[in-house]
């Protein structure tokens, strides 16, 4: 128990300064878009396995904040998901 307390005390001030409420932690949230890489798969309403990754259990489209998809690709995704829903594939 004593050891743990010491560690927390050592780490304490550093981690607090990084995770202050008024400064955004940039390193944590910057992530590249998985669909605009070089060998990324085509977004198409027939490619159901890909579309299923961007849909929640209730059939809602997951927001790009969570999946870190770029703005243009997110628009494409929503269009293709809606097409697939018309055909009853999703």
């Amino acid at each position: 128990m004593k050891r743990k307390n010491r560690k927390s005390q050592r780490k304490g001030p550093n981690s607090i300064s990084k995770l202050s409420l008024f400064q955004k932690n940039d390193s944590k949230f910057s992530k590249k878009c998985p669909l605009s890489l070089k060998n990324s798969p085509l977004i198409d309403y027939k490619n159901i396995d890909l579309l299923k990754k961007y849909i929640s259990e209730n059939g809602k489209i997951v927001s790009s904040k969570i999946t870190s998809v770029s703005f243009g690709k997110q628009k494409q995704l929503t269009r293709e998901i809606k097409k697939a829903k018309i055909l009853g594939l999703l």
Partner: protein
């Protein structure tokens, strides 16, 4: 002339003969109205994600064709009246990719 894709969801309780007739019928309609069918894919009997018109499964027939506005109008006319179809969708493409078949594994 532009490229299009058309997908038809047919009812589950159709006989094989009717399915073939349905497939050939729309193949003829496209070819006869100044269009050209590039490829026909049959995805087979697939489960619908949710119930549509009291059906749980459907036969999927997929056309890739080249055509004009005339062919589209002709298809839309016929599809609206068709009774053995649950849903349909036509999409315009700049280029058709005939290589990728996403539903081939399900067929085997």
């Amino acid at each position: 002339m532009a490229f299009y894709e058309n997908t038809i969801v047919a009812k589950q309780d159709l006989a094989e003969k009717d399915l073939e007739e349905l497939r050939d019928k729309y193949n003829q309609i496209i070819n006869s109205s100044s269009g050209r069918v590039v490829k026909i894919e049959e995805w087979g009997l697939l489960k619908l994600a949710n119930r549509i018109k009291k059906y749980n499964k459907g036969f999927y027939i997929h056309y890739k064709f080249e055509g004009s506005k005339k062919t589209l109008n002709e298809i839309e006319k016929k599809l609206r009246i068709e009774k053995s179809i649950i849903r349909h969708l036509t999409v315009r493409y700049k280029k058709l990719d005939t290589k990728n078949e996403y539903f081939k594994k399900d067929k085997q």
